[in-house]
Amino acid sequence: MSGFMSSSIGKKFFMSITGLFLMVFLLVHLTANLALLFGPEAFNKVSHFMGTNPIIQVMQPVLAIGFILHILYASMLTIQNQKARPESYAKTVNGHQSSWTSKNMYILGGVVLSFLVLHIINFFWKMKVTGSPLLNEVEVDGEMMENAYGLVVGLFKDPQLGIVYSLVYILGAVGLGFHLTHGFWSSFQTIGMSNDLWRKRLTAVGYLFALLIGAGFSIIPLFLMITA
């Protein structure tokens, strides 16, 4: 097994498994977020559920580990790959060979990571650690719960920075979408689940998935920008 962990394919295997896991997380997270479009009560209920459901609580550290492993292996592989060509070409023609996204996964990952840090500061940290006056408890269907809706709307509708936050969040979602245009298919290829036929199918599904994630996460700030 130790040989596997240090082999190139072994390291890529971890990239793929963590990537697949993170994509499942994104689907769950997006589904929860979209409740916001149905108003404060719906969103607060979903967010209360996510904050108290034991399975979700157990999954939180797993998710953190998933992110850390994905980023750690990404950095390790990227550094090794850069070292593998000590002297670069004076002239290269590319573009016809491979997509820009496939060659810049680390940069796109960096965009996602910076967004993730901001996102944790904006929401997760406030809800779990510091609290915020915007979060003052509200009553929904006779139950008291945090006003997560108030926190989200408070951020995106902030008189000074609301528009900046909205744009940054949209940029983060688009960066993530691009990461997945390559990542989705690539994760299947890495674990050997592809061939000439499935490659076409998986890339097509990957583009749809990337669009769903990119557009899905952008809808929330856009929706709040449009609705006064």
Binding site: S7, R85, A90, K91, T92, V93, H182, I191, G192, R199
Partner: protein, 247 residues
């Protein structure tokens, strides 16, 4: 046609190299790229200079010896051809052509445009063979192999070990080469027996030799003169993962 050449010159593995500019005149469009290089070398020899060292052997696209990164592409501007099969009609009168060696930690430059590709031999020595004597050609139907498997194995077996995949890959990964060698044997009954051991041994050797990790960009298959598909890389990954599970 008349051309300006910008050629990488490097005395030996330990010297620092650099580009030199040369002019060649009256090159016919029917000449192959290597013939054009021969004309340049004749010119250099006649004027008492050191000819440009470059690899070649069969000059018909089967041995894999010729290399060269021409105007930013492995084996030049044509697709699915080796440099020896590249014709000068792909260039225009007055063009400047930049000619570089393969660049990879796994393929150090020996001199000028020649690189040491013995890393590929080392990978093959690690497992690219069938250990038992498989006898003569079997009777047509004695060893049933589906047409699909036979074709896939044959496609993989067309790899000539040229190294264009490594040269092109942004990570300098040798996965396309290794996957072709693993595939061609793993698909056939004679090679299946050792498939697990082979996949592990060849990948381990590949990792030792300074090649990068595959990130599935797909650039290698586009520049491979034999059009080998990265579907073989998926098979290699599969073989490798199964082999690890079997431990």
């Amino acid at each position: 046609m008349d051309l300006k050449l910008r050629v990488w010159r490097q005395k030996d593995a330990n010297s620092k190299g650099g580009f030199e500019n040369y002019d060649v005149q009256n090159i016919t469009t029917d000449a192959s790229f290597l013939e054009m290089m021969d004309i340049l070398n004749e010119q250099l020899v006649n004027s008492g200079q050191d000819p440009v060292a470059f690899d070649h052997d069969c000059r018909e696209g089967i041995c894999g010896m010729c290399s060269l990164y021409i105007n930013g592409r492995a084996h030049g501007p044509d697709t699915e051809v080796t440099t020896c099969q590249l014709h000068m009609r792909k260039f225009k009168d007055g063009d400047t052509i930049t000619i570089e060696p393969w660049r990879s930690g796994g393929f150090p430059v020996i001199k000028d445009l020649m690189v040491d590709r013995s890393a590929y031999d080392k990978i093959l020595q690690a497992g690219g063979y069938v250990s038992v004597n498989t006898g003569g050609v079997p009777d047509a139907n004695a060893l049933p192999i589906s047409k699909i498997d036979a074709d896939e194995a044959m496609d993989a077996a067309t790899c000539i070990g040229c190294g264009a995949c490594v040269a092109t890959c942004k990570n300098s990964s040798a996965m396309l080469f290794v996957s072709a060698k693993v595939s061609q044997l793993a698909l056939l009954p004679q090679g299946k027996v050792e498939a697990s051991r082979r996949a592990k041994a060849m990948v381990a050797r590949m990792d030792e030799l300074g090649f990068g990790n595959c990130t599935n960009t797909g650039a290698c298959e586009v520049e491979c003169p034999k059009g080998i598909s990265i579907a073989h890389i998926a098979r290699l990954n599969r073989e490798f993962l199964f082999a690890t599970c079997k431990e």
